[in-house]
Amino acid sequence: MIKTLQENFQKIQKFALLGGIVAIYLVAVGMVETFAQRNLIGTSLSLGHAFLVLGPIGVGILIAQAMKESETKSIYVAGFLAGALSSVSLILFNIVIQIFVIQADPDAVFYLRNMFVSFTPTAFEFLTFGQGMVLGNILLFLFFGLMGMLGVSFLRFPDKIRRGWINSLIWVLAVGLFSENVAQILRELFGPGLGKIIFSNKSMNPVAAIILFAVVFAFSYFGLKKEASDKWAAMPEEKQKKGRVFIIIMAILFVAILPWLVGLFLSQALFIIGMYVMMGLGLNIVVGYAGLLDLGYVAFFAFGAYTMGILTTTGALGRSDLNFWMALPFAMLIGVLWGLLLGFPVLRMRGDYLAIVTLGFGEIIRILALSNWLAPFGGGAQGILHIPQPEFFGLSMNSPQAMYYLVVLGAVLAAFVTIRLRDSRLGRQWMAMREDEDVAEAMGINLIQTKLLAFSIGAAFSALAGAIFAARLGNIFPHSFNILISINALALIIVGGLGSIPGVVVGAIILIGLPEMLREFAEYRLLMYGMLLIIMMIVKPDGFMPEARRSQELRDEKDTLPKQAAGTEG
C-alpha cells in the first residue's frame, strides 16, 4: 500500500493543491462565510460547510478516478491524504488572519482587511470550529481528510450501496437547503404539525434528516424504483393507457395547485420562471433549431412590454383604452414585425457576426427607450406607469397566483407551437439550415424565408412574455430591458439542452428559480452562474435534458467508432 501511495504521490500533491485553491478561493471571496448563515441540518451544518467541502470532496473524486486500478484501501488512504493536504491552504489562511487581522491594529497603515474584506475573525471562527488556533486547525485537517474519503466513496462504494448513498445525501442536502419552502408546502398540505416536527429554526431537524436519509437509501437499495417500472412494464396496454392519463391529470393538478402550496413569494418566483420558459422556448427556435445565435433577444421582450404599456396604460402616455386581452395580439404582432425588421439586415450574416449585430440591436433598443427623443411615446427614463392588471371576466388578476396561471398558459401555448413546428416541414428546414446553409439552399430551401420565420416566431414569444411582464409589474422602465435578460434566456436553453423543450423548463428552474429561492446570496449570483456554466460545459456539454437528436449523435459516435475502425476504409 505504501508503495502505491509513493507512486501516486505526485497526483495526490497535484489534486490537493487544486482542492486547496478551490477551498481558499471560496473562503476568500466570502462565499463560505455568507452561506454559513443558512443552516441545512440543525444549527451545526450550514450551506457554508457544504461549499467549504466542495474542494476536498472534488479532490477525493479526482483521486478515485486517477487511481482506478489500485486496491480500494490505498485509494481511501490517498483520498484522505489529498483531502487533508488541501486544507493546508486554509490553515495558512487561519494563521494569516490570526496574525494580521485579529492581533493587528485596525488603524494601522497596513491592515489586511482593507484589501481583503472577507478576511474576518468570523471566518477564522468558522474554519476552526471555534476551537482556537491549534486544536481547530488539527480538526480542520482531519475533517478535510474525511471529506476526501467521502469523495472517494462516491466512486468506490459497492455499486448497490453507492447509488443510495449519493441519492440520500443529495436529498437530505436539498431538503435542508429549501427547508422554508418545504415547510411551507407541508403546512399547506397537512396543517402546521408535521412541518414543525421536521423543521426547526429554518433548517432540518437532525433526526428528521437521518430518517429521510434512511428512507431514500432504502428506496435505492431495494431498487423500489426499478420494481415499480418493472410492474409498469408488466401491466397490460389498456391499464398503462389509463395510468398515463392518470399521471397527466395529476401533473396538471399539481401545476394548478402549485402556487397555493408554495405561498406568495415563491408564486412570484414561479411567475418569473414561467416567463423565462416562454422566452426560452422562443429563443430555442431561433438558436436551437435554426442555429442563429441571437444575443439581442431582450429587444423583442421590450417591444412586447412597451406595446402593452402604451396601449393599456391609464397614465398620461396612454394612446388607447384597450384592455390587456385586446392589446396582447398587438404586442405579439409588433414583436413579429420587429423580428422581421431585424432579420432582413442580418440575412447574410453567420455565427459570430450575427451574434455581434443582434447584441448591438438589443442595446440600441434599450438606449432608444431611454432617449429623450422617444420620451413622448415611451416615457424615457421615467418609463410607463399605471399599466392595469389584466381582468378575467370582471375579476382583476392582481395576485401573483393569477398571473402564474396566465404565464403557464402562455408557456404551454409556446411549447405546443414549438413541438408542432419542430415536427413540420419548417422544422426540417431549420435543422438543415443549422447544419449547413449552402447545402440547405442547394436542396431547394429558401433561406430568406426560413430565417425570417425563425426570427419572427421567436420574437413573438418574447413579446408575449414582455407584454405579460408589463401587465404584472404595472410599470416598465428602460433599465429593466438590459442585456442580462438575453444572456439569461440563452444560458437557460444551453444549460437545459439546446433544442430540448423539457430542457427549457429545467434550465429556467435552475438558472432563474434557484437564484430567486436563494435571494439572500444575490451578490454571488453571477459568480455561481459562471461556475455552473463552466462546470456544465465540461461535464455535460449537451445540457441537463439533451434533445434526443443531439444525444443520439454523441452516443452513436461511441457505438460506431470501433465498427468503423474495423471496416476497410477511413
Binding site: R428, Q429, M431, A432, E435, D436, D438, V439, A440, E441, A442, M443, G444, I445, N446, L447, R549, R550, Q552, E553, D556, E557, T560, L561, Q564, G567, T568, E569, G570
Partner: protein, 237 residues
C-alpha cells in the same frame, strides 16, 4: 441546343477577379469534366452556376432559359442538383433524413419512395447505415450519401464538386463507378476534379481551367494525350 451553356462569365470575390471569362457547354447525356489545379476557379465556376455567386458579366443558360444569378434554392426545382465540395452532409441528421432532405423539392410521394430504392441499390452501404447519424459515417460513405442525396432531387443535370477529395484510392474507384452508372441512367453530369486522370477516364469531354480562364478544351482521350495536360495534371514527363 446545349443543355447548359456558360458564356464568358466573370466572377469576383470583392476585388479579386476569380473567373476571367469562362465559357463552356454541356450537352444532354454527357459527362463533362472541368479540371485544374488548386485555386484555378473550378469551385467558383460551380458556385456561379448554382447561384451561390453572381457573375458581374456573362450569362448562364440552362435548357434555353437564362439562369444567371438565379437564387440557389430555385435551381433545384429546375432539376439541377449539386454535390458540394467536402460533401456537406447534414452531420446531425440520419442517413435517411439526409436523403429525405434531398427530396425536399419534390411532392410525388411514390416517386420519392422508388428513388430511395434506386439510391440504395446504387450505394448498398447507405442502406446498411440508414438509421445512423451522417456525421459518424466514413469519408467515403459521406460522399456516397451526398451523391445519393443529390439524386433524390431527381436531377437532369448533376454538378459534382471534387467527389474524390480525401478518399482512399479504392473508394475513389467505386465513387466514379457510381458516377458512370448515374450517367447511364440518363443524368447529365458536370464533374469538377483535381484528380485529372480519373476524371478524364470517365468523361466524354474535358475543359482545363487555369487561373480563372479555360486554356484547353477537347475530347477526354485527346486531352489525355495532350503534352501540357500530361505534364501539369497527370504527373507524366
Amino acid at each position: 441546343m446545349a443543355m447548359l451553356e456558360i458564356n464568358d462569365i466573370h466572377t469576383y470575390y470583392g476585388n479579386i477577379h476569380a473567373l476571367k471569362g469562362v465559357s463552356l457547354t454541356v450537352e444532354e447525356g454527357e459527362i463533362v469534366t472541368l479540371i485544374g489545379a488548386n485555386g484555378a476557379g473550378k469551385t467558383t465556376t460551380l458556385r456561379t452556376i448554382t447561384g451561390l455567386l453572381t457573375p458581374r458579366e456573362g450569362s448562364i443558360t440552362y435548357e434555353g432559359e437564362n439562369i444567371t444569378g438565379i437564387p440557389a434554392h430555385e435551381l433545384v426545382y429546375k432539376q439541377v442538383a449539386m454535390v458540394p465540395e467536402g460533401r456537406g452532409v447534414f452531420a446531425k441528421l440520419t442517413v435517411l433524413e439526409n436523403l429525405e432532405m434531398g427530396a425536399y423539392s419534390r411532392n410525388d410521394k411514390e416517386g420519392i419512395v422508388s428513388d430511395f430504392d434506386r439510391v440504395f441499390s446504387l450505394f448498398p452501404r447507405l442502406k446498411e447505415r440508414r438509421k445512423q447519424v451522417a456525421g459518424t459515417l466514413s469519408g467515403g460513405e459521406q460522399q456516397m450519401l451526398a451523391t445519393g442525396r443529390a439524386m433524390m432531387a431527381k436531377p437532369r443535370l448533376l454538378l459534382l464538386d471534387e467527389p474524390s477529395m480525401g478518399l482512399a484510392p479504392v473508394l475513389v474507384d467505386s465513387v466514379f463507378d457510381a458516377i458512370v452508372e448515374i450517367n447511364k441512367e440518363g443524368t447529365t453530369i458536370l464533374l469538377v476534379e483535381q484528380n485529372a486522370l480519373m476524371a478524364l477516364s470517365v468523361a466524354n469531354r474535358g475543359y482545363v481551367l487555369q487561373t480563372g480562364q479555360i486554356v484547353l478544351h477537347d475530347d477526354s482521350a485527346a486531352l489525355k494525350q495532350n503534352e501540357m495536360v500530361q505534364k501539369a495534371y497527370l504527373g507524366m514527363d
